[in-house]
């Protein structure tokens, strides 16, 4: 008996049968910077979508950007206007954006006013008019703005079933005609539950404005998008001269390359500190430099960037408190020239005072600068300044976004040094007033200590995720060379970490030194 007979199974021919392939869903671009990433590559072709939200959210501008990004003479875009913003005013305002290309109007982009049909006739007439224009033009993109007014007017004389049938027929017809459709309308979130339109559509783009005290930030949510893996959540949107720009919650950093297996040790530009760190910072690490005001955090950060530049590694300094000129002048006083690399495009000092910018937008500024110059080192000076520069309502997102950005950038091998101001309590050695140490691979703590009637400065490497490091508490000074670590660890004191140490060793005779303060002199 053959095996197949024994098992009762029919033996399949050994011929390889090719599996029927899945349909490829092509994506069309939105023309909105950042949005295609959020949508997982773009908008699925032939989809039936709704752009919804409250007035002033940017719905019409988004529709225009999609239209201008896709319309061609061969596959034009039809823009049906209905009782919403009059077309003349729409054109008046939209032409202010840089994406607006008047040469496309008439041939590649056609505006058609449906107001008269909507006002004077019924849903069937509206549908027939749309069909007539679509059949004549064979468009690739169709927009109905505002669809809400079509529905509102039509519903006055039609049943809900008729309305649903109208939407169904419209969706079916436009998809069959291989048009990607966008219905623009003013809706409130509560309407999503009962309105059949939201069930029928393939894509639902929700634009809103979030107000927190005096700050307003626009948000976009892709509530659904059939045929694409969009990034969930609320994404920040800004409307500027180029129209809408979207900032993905993931900052478009998902899937970036990972850290190289063998990582170099990078010099901080302070030889003794390099030794304390086991030879330097591991490439792709995130380093936190914590300390109170005046301990030299910014000086150390400047040396870190300057050292990178010396080795051909472009850098970015993102500052939130000090102005770029002050930063450059301090570097000059240490003998570090930051002006020349800026002119050569190897260094950018970003002075960011975003106020009502969201954290994602601010981070996008940093990411853009990194891309521009191919930066390998980044300084964020300081995290406190960064957080304070944001509008109060958006500080809640700060740590989450910072975590994503640092994770993604260090993952791509960029080494980040962030400074954070902490208060010296003289009872404990805190690293930060909020929990950010999870963001960092390495922590350097700087602090004041009271010794022999002087307020001196010490530093210690608290943590290095990538290897062993010195546990010594080392005194340092800030000279015309920047931060310079001086004495080896002192064994004459205990409780240095509290800032008020106890002497355990012999007292060394100290020479009297006049205070170098001109104002104190007569």
């Amino acid at each position: 008996m053959k095996d197949s007979e024994a098992t009762g199974r029919r033996k399949l021919p050994r011929k390889v049968v090719s599996q029927p392939g899945k349909v490829t869903i092509h994506k069309i671009p939105t023309g909105v910077r950042g949005l295609d990433d959020i949508l997982g590559g773009g908008i699925p072709e032939f989809s039936f979508n709704i752009i919804a939200g409250a007035p002033g959210g940017g719905k019409t501008t988004l529709a225009h950007q999609i239209v201008f990004a896709n319309a061609t003479v061969k596959k034009p875009a039809l823009y049906f206007t209905v009782l919403g913003e009059p077309a003349l005013k729409m054109l008046r305002y939209q032409q202010q954006y840089s994406f607006f290309d008047e040469s496309m109007l008439g041939r590649a982009i056609r505006f058609i006013n449906l107001s008269d049909v909507v006002l004077e006739e019924d849903l069937n007439a509206v549908l027939e008019t749309i069909i007539e224009h679509v059949m004549a033009a064979n468009p690739g993109v169709v927009v109905v703005d505002s669809f809400r007014t079509v529905v509102r007017q039509a519903m006055s004389g039609a049943s809900e079933l008729e309305m649903q049938l109208f939407i169904q027929r419209l969706a079916q017809f436009l998809s069959t005609w291989e048009a990607t459709t966008f219905l623009v309308g003013e809706y409130v979130p509560e309407e999503m539950r009962d309105n059949p339109l939201f069930t029928i559509v393939d894509g639902l783009f929700w634009l809103s404005q979030v107000t927190e005290r005096n700050a307003v930030v626009r948000k976009l949510q892709i509530i659904k998008l059939r045929g694409a893996a969009s990034v969930p959540g609320l994404h920040t949107v800004r409307i500027g001269e180029a129209g809408l720009q979207a900032f993905s919650r993931t900052l478009g950093l998902v899937g970036n390359k990972v850290k190289p297996a063998r990582r170099r040790r990078l010099s901080v530009g302070i030889p003794e500190l390099d030794k304390m760190m086991g030879g330097g910072i591991l490439e792709g690490d995130s380093v936190l430099v914590a300390g109170p005001s005046g301990t030299g955090k910014s000086a150390l950060a400047t040396q870190f960037i300057a050292e990178g530049l010396k080795h051909g590694e472009p850098g970015i300094i993102a500052i939130f408190e000090e102005r770029p000129q002050g930063y450059t002048e301090r570097a000059d006083s240490f003998g570090l020239n930051l002006k020349a690399p800026q002119k050569k495009g190897k260094l950018e000092i970003l002075y960011l005072r975003p106020l009502d910018l969201s954290v994602d937008e601010t981070m996008q500024e940093i990411l853009d600068a990194i891309d521009r110059i191919g930066a390998r080192r980044l300084v964020i000076d300081s995290l406190v300044g960064f957080e304070m520069a944001l509008a109060p309502g958006f500080r809640a997102d700060f740590r989450e976004s910072l975590y994503r950005m640092i994770g993604a950038l260090t993952g791509a091998g960029i080494t980040i040094l962030s400074t954070v101001e902490v208060e010296d309590t003289f009872t404990a050695l805190s690293f930060s007033h909020y929990t950010i140490s999870f963001l960092t691979d390495d922590i350097i703590r700087m602090r004041y200590v009271e010794i022999d009637g002087q307020l001196r400065k010490v530093m210690v490497v608290i943590k290095m995720r990538g290897g062993n490091h010195s546990k010594d508490i080392r005194e340092y000074v800030i000279t015309d060379k920047g931060v310079v670590v001086i004495h080896p660890r002192s064994t004459d004191y205990v409780r240095l970490s509290t800032g008020i140490p106890d002497r355990t060793g012999p007292r060394v005779a100290q020479a009297d030194k006049a205070a170098p303060e001109p104002k104190a002199k007569k």
Partner: protein, 138 residues
């Protein structure tokens, strides 16, 4: 703007100027423009534009007061013009009306878009030496 209006009227009239006409030569220009504008702004929008242009033009050429704008934006009432209409006055009225209309469009959507619409309607129109920017006079 008036030079532009004159050019449109001349282009539309071609060589077929009717000497004894009672309606302004602007009528055919308005009629040619009307469906193109109606697609863009609807009949209501066209009516508003023409009504505004006519009101402005009437202040300068009182003879235009006999003209009415229909619901679809078309012009009516030419027959009621006081006969015999002064041909010069008639011609001037037409130019002023078209200039006002073009001026309105220009104020709303700018010269590039206005020229685009006009070129769609009159593809053979000669636009050389035509300067729309800075021309406030309608």
């Amino acid at each position: 703007m008036r030079a532009f209006a004159e050019r449109l009227i001349a282009c539309e009239a071609g060589d077929h100027e009717s000497p004894g006409r009672k309606s302004p030569a602007a009528y055919p220009v308005c009629e040619r423009l009307r469906p193109h504008l109606a697609i863009l702004v609807g009949n209501t929008g066209v009516r508003s534009l023409f009504l505004r242009a006519l009101t402005q033009a009437e202040a300068e050429v009182p003879a235009l007061r006999a003209i009415r704008v229909n619901g679809d934006g078309s012009l009516a009432g030419a027959g009621k013009l006081e006969a015999p209409a002064d041909p010069e006055e008639l011609a001037k009225g037409g130019v002023v009306l078209v200039a006002q209309l073009l001026g309105l469009l220009l104020a709303f959507i700018g010269d590039k878009l206005v020229l685009r619409i006009v070129c769609d309607v009159w593809p053979n129109l000669e636009l050389k030496d035509l300067n729309l920017s800075g021309s406030d006079e309608r």
